[in-house]
């Protein structure tokens, strides 16, 4: 039995952060339903504009491109889809019925949406005290910026990260390109798991607020405290850091291929010199210790870059690691797909999607001996579980379901360009 097998979750989510939280719960067995709108399609379904072929299997959007896109299909594995128009008659009431038969509601839309729909914790808990409602606003539910719209990159900026990442004298840089989304997703899953444990012990649900910006600030807590201590910020300088030299990415064989190399100790530097076949550099006073290497970092990096360019990044990193030097290839998607390390971890699962076909899917990093997660089903096609949820879970008769189909309260395809 999976740990969360008896937990039912409803997601009012879009894009990445919210769906990733639900995906983690689904991985451990929760029955997760992603509520989707036929009139305002999840952006990760890519229903607007001309389809970009690179998003689909074999570059073919097919007739149901929203079911074939790698974005949605990556984050909604193991879930169900209920495609229902919340603005149509009976739409919200149906979702509310489903939530009241569930244990957890996850929302990553802007603050205020749940309250408008009477799906907020205060309203729901009157009927179901054990409900857990997790909201994931970028800036929190209250405060002067709480109504601000955000994306992963703008949350990374607001969290104090991007300004600390830049080329020398360059502009703030976003990473990932949307690193804050999975950080928000993981934190929301952690918070919900905590609340589920609390409920198991007390029988009570609760309200969770995951300000994604605040959750992420923890990840650079020491850097924020350093600014408090110093009264100023450390100026970013590419990959260079104060405590190590070299510490950078260097060109490797091939187009836009790179290998990272770092020496945090003199021993690592001496080992690097030996590997470069330039043992004399270890005795060069310009590079004698971290301080002198920092002072002569331009010259240091030129020497290394002149050497690395001839080597395959994987082979060079392995050779340097064997010699005690910190190094790694800068992996691309192709490299990840062929990673022996990730395959050794069982990271990829072959999953068959009814519309997108059979492909390996990236996994999650949790390994419990008695409570492994699993891959039961692919991401759902749009509205694939309408009949199951309305009929078997909510007990609607077929006449009522048919009427909802006719009025397009529920749908199995999104409206055009919606």
């Amino acid at each position: 039995m999976l740990p969360f097998e008896n937990i039912r979750v409803v997601e009012l989510t879009t894009a990445w952060a919210g769906p990733m939280a639900g995906r983690i719960l689904a991985h451990f067995g929760a029955d997760v339903t992603h509520i989707e709108s036929p009139t305002r399609t999840n952006t990760w379904r890519t229903n607007k504009g001309a389809p970009s072929p690179v998003n689909y299997p074999d570059f073919d959007p097919g007739e149901r491109r929203w079911d074939r896109v790698f974005l949605f299909n990556s984050q909604n594995v193991n879930k169900r889809s209920l495609a229902i128009d919340l603005k149509a008659e009976g739409g919200v009431e149906t979702v509310r019925d489903l939530v009241l038969q569930s244990d957890v509601l996850i929302c990553n839309f802007r603050p205020g949406m749940l309250r408008r729909l009477a799906l907020d914790y205060e309203s729901l808990s009157k009927h179901k005290p054990e409900i857990i409602v997790a909201e994931m606003p970028a800036f929190g539910l209250e405060g002067p910026h709480s109504s601000y719209a955000a994306l992963g990159p703008t949350m990374e900026m607001a969290a104090g990260m991007s300004a600390a990442i830049a080329y020398h004298d360059g502009k703030p840089t976003v990473t990932g390109p949307s690193y804050l989304d999975p950080i928000g997703g993981f934190n929301a899953a952690a918070a919900i798991a905590t609340a589920l444990y609390h409920r198991r012990k007390t029988g009570l649900g609760q309200h969770i607020e995951v300000s994604q910006v605040e959750a992420a600030m923890q990840f650079i807590g020491p850097e924020i405290l350093h600014a408090a201590v110093e009264g100023k910020d450390t100026k970013p300088d590419g990959n260079r850091v104060a405590h190590a030299a070299p510490h950078n990415a260097f060109p490797a064989q091939g187009e836009d291929e790179w290998v990272v190399i770092a020496a945090q100790t003199d021993a690592q530097w001496q080992a690097l010199c030996a590997e470069m076949g330039q043992a004399e550099l270890a005795g060069d006073p310009r590079f004698a210790d971290v301080g002198s290497r920092k002072a002569n970092e331009d010259a240091l990096e030129r020497i290394i870059a002149d050497w690395t360019g001839a080597f395959d990044k994987h082979e060079l990193a392995a050779k340097l690691q064997s010699a005690g030097v910190i190094a790694a290839p800068v992996n691309t998607p192709h490299d990840l797909a062929h990673s022996d390390y990730l395959r050794a971890r069982g990271f990829y699962a072959e999953i068959t999607h009814p519309v997108a076909g059979t492909h390996p899917h990236p996994g999650l990093p949790f390994h419990l001996e008695r409570a492994p997660g699993d891959y039961r089903r692919s991401a759902p096609a749009f509205g694939a579980d309408n009949a199951h949820l309305l009929g078997e879970v909510l007990g609607f008769d077929s006449e009522r379901i048919d009427a909802m189909v006719r009025s397009r309260t529920i749908a199995d395809a999104p409206n055009k360009e919606a």
Partner: protein
């Protein structure tokens, strides 16, 4: 009723940022956390940045408020330390031994960089290595220049959250049968799991996504020394122009159509930059958000300390005994308020 966490005993033997952050989350929500530290000091005490007395701010951030004990030197002492622990956070190679000593009810989570086996067993890691291997780093920075790894130790903190989720699942499962279990989390695998899912795109059609393959409709401008990022989706262009007082750009032939704007993107942002250079950054963002244009200040860490929004949310705790602010909770639980911690761990 007191929090169910108040009776949870967590022992952290990990000696790592990821392990320490995992147990910090337990501390945040009321568990009793014991940190075992070797006689010559935990390795995290050597993680930068440092305060003026060369004390690690990473150690401070991660471990303030935990009960610190000497790392046991004998098996008997180790058994005493972990006896009755609900959760043990352990370094690579200690899962079996500690789980045995701690007893059947313990959830024992091994936290390491790469795990005990596999092709990277024995490799040395730092943040840049994790970001490089995960696929994340290849997305960062400008095409043609070296990719950027990021800042701090974000992969390790993510590994800490993953270890916490793992431990919570173990505790939840224990409620069924009273049994703990062994578990493991690699920072490297966590980092890969958090990478944008371009690897699925690769499996779908062979695309090997690289930096610069997609134009992001955003740009940055300096407003009185603070960076502001503006996202200009096609349907919000006119709204942005009006919000910034640049209505003349709406019909400017250089920018009127999407294709024109893409072609003249840098020129457009030069105009915006000149216009807003002396404006207040918060005011610019506020006006843009009012017009439903996504924008944000790219705060420097020091700017967060004075940030009015965080202040209004009563985000900061402290100052603590060391005179430092304490960051607010990573998430807020209505029935499990975050523990107050005012002592300094020594």
């Amino acid at each position: 009723m007191s929090s169910p966490f108040s009776s949870l005993h967590v022992v952290d033997l990990s000696g790592s940022i990821a392990g320490n952050y995992c147990s910090r989350l337990f501390l945040d929500f009321g568990a009793q956390v014991t940190l075992a530290e070797p006689e010559n000091g935990a390795s995290v005490r050597h993680v930068p940045p440092f305060d003026k007395d060369r004390r690690s701010l990473a150690f401070h951030h991660l471990n303030t408020g935990k009960r610190v004990v000497d790392l046991p030197k004998s098996k008997a002492e180790l058994a005493d330390l972990v006896a009755g622990a609900d959760v043990a956070i352990v370094p690579q190679g200690f899962k079996d031994e500690i789980a045995k000593l701690a007893g059947d009810r313990c959830v024992c989570v091994e936290v390491s960089a790469f795990g005990a086996d596999g092709p990277y067993a024995g490799w040395q890691a730092n943040e840049m290595v994790h970001q490089a291997l995960s696929g994340m780093m290849s997305n960062n920075g400008e095409p043609g220049r070296e990719p950027l790894y990021g800042v701090g130790n974000r992969a390790s903190y993510a590994g800490g959250v993953a270890a916490y989720i793992t431990a919570m699942v173990g505790l939840f499962t224990r409620e069924d049968d009273g049994q703990g279990q062994k578990a493991s989390v690699d920072v490297a695998e966590t980092a890969a799991a958090m990478c944008f899912p371009y690897v699925l795109q690769y499996f779908y059609n062979g695309t090997n996504r690289r930096r610069g393959d997609q134009d992001i409709p955003a740009g940055q401008v300096l407003c009185e020394g603070t960076w502001v990022c503006i996202w200009i989706y096609p349907h919000r262009f006119a709204a942005m122009c009006k919000a910034l007082g640049l209505s003349q750009l709406i019909d400017d032939p250089r920018f009127a159509q999407v294709a024109d704007r893409v072609k003249n993107w840098a020129e457009m942002f030069d105009i915006i930059q000149d216009h807003v250079r002396d404006e207040d950054a918060e005011d610019v963002v506020s006006r843009l958000q009012e017009a439903q244009v996504i924008s944000a200040c790219a705060y420097r860490p020091s700017e967060l300390l004075e940030n009015p929004h965080l202040a209004a949310r009563q985000y900061w705790d402290g100052p603590d005994a060391q005179g430092l602010p304490r960051l607010g909770a990573p998430f807020r639980l209505s029935r499990m308020p975050r523990s107050r911690v005012n002592e300094v761990t020594e």
